[in-house]
Symmetry: C2
Subunit: 160 residues, 2 copies
DNA sequence: TAGAGCTTTCAGAGATTTGTAAATTCTCTG
DNA sequence: CAGAGAATTTACAAATCTCTGAAAGCTCTA
């Protein structure tokens, strides 16, 4: 089987997994298309053709992917079309955003604690929750940074 | 405002957040009801009443929450009804399951690499992805374990 | 082992989501 | 600054999802 076809299938497969994990299906497909494409970047029209979806759907997907830092718009000299490409370091920023969710969970636990007090079944449940998320919140960012450093060191000689 | 009411509102608020993060709405509501309740455990009927939903909906939600380790069925001596309660250490096991997702991401990257080869734009993109998820996969479990240990040490004298 | 008390399953109604096509807006260029 | 080419928004239609109510299925106990 040819390379393009294998990549296309890998892309759709991952998109399906991500969709089951809560990401919108079309958004996931656009993301994986940009991840597995052999081009550096793709235009909206490319994405329409590759995925057989309308330009409106592409627009919506892109609007969701850009704010979370997974893809970026790149200026394309000589073309009037927008080009999109998968961002370097996208995974690390995606994981960093998980941190916001961790913090939210911690805050939710605190809120419950304020209402219930420490000394109750509820209090003990929520205390564990709060402690866990506080710990994770504190550890995750340094962990990601340590990966960034390590990866940058390994690839000091190979910029994009 | 009374305690129950504050807890109820905190529960619904968190449920909403979780729902936006991809969890099924009713599943999230059942989970947070069990998290913020002042009882140790609740019956299906309790949940129906508290959340104004049918027993079928409770059954479905419970069926999703148990496998992921967030809640558990507890035998209730003297009652024929099933009782459900939020599991101790639920958050840690939830996070551990994230690890499966991380591993999946790493595998997806590898699959693409096999098709595209290292020396291509695609290869470089996928290599970063693979490296990131491999690193995270390796670090996350120890991190969770270190929390477990720390928390257990702090609460050696206060079992449930 | 018959039956009470719960839980689970199932079919269908209702609500929500999501994609398309077309209209609109935006942005370059000649 | 007019117009062409592209992106975005909107209204609507289609598909999907999810809950309810009712029936079926378990599992204890008397």
């Amino acid at each position: 089987m040819d390379t393009d076809q294998r990549l296309r299938e890998a892309a759709e497969k991952l998109a399906l997994t991500l969709a089951q994990g809560g990401m919108q299906k079309t958004t996931a497909r656009v993301m994986t298309a940009l991840l597995y494409t052999r081009q550096d970047a793709m235009t909206a029209a490319d994405l329409c053709a590759e995925l057989s979806i309308s330009s409106g759907a592409v627009s919506t997907a892109v609007k969701q992917l850009i704010p979370i830092g997974l893809i970026e718009r790149v200026p394309a000299p000589g073309s009037r079309r927008d080009h999109y490409r998968f961002r370097q370091g996208a995974w690390a920023s995606l994981m960093s955003q998980q941190n916001a969710m961790l913090a939210t969970m911690g805050a939710a636990a605190q809120e419950g604690l304020d209402a219930a007090g420490q000394d109750s079944v509820t209090g003990r449940r929520l205390h564990e929750m709060k402690d866990f998320y506080a710990y994770m919140t504190k550890q995750l960012i340094p962990l990601i940074d340590s990966w960034r450093q390590r990866y940058a060191a390994q690839h000091a000689d190979t910029p994009r």
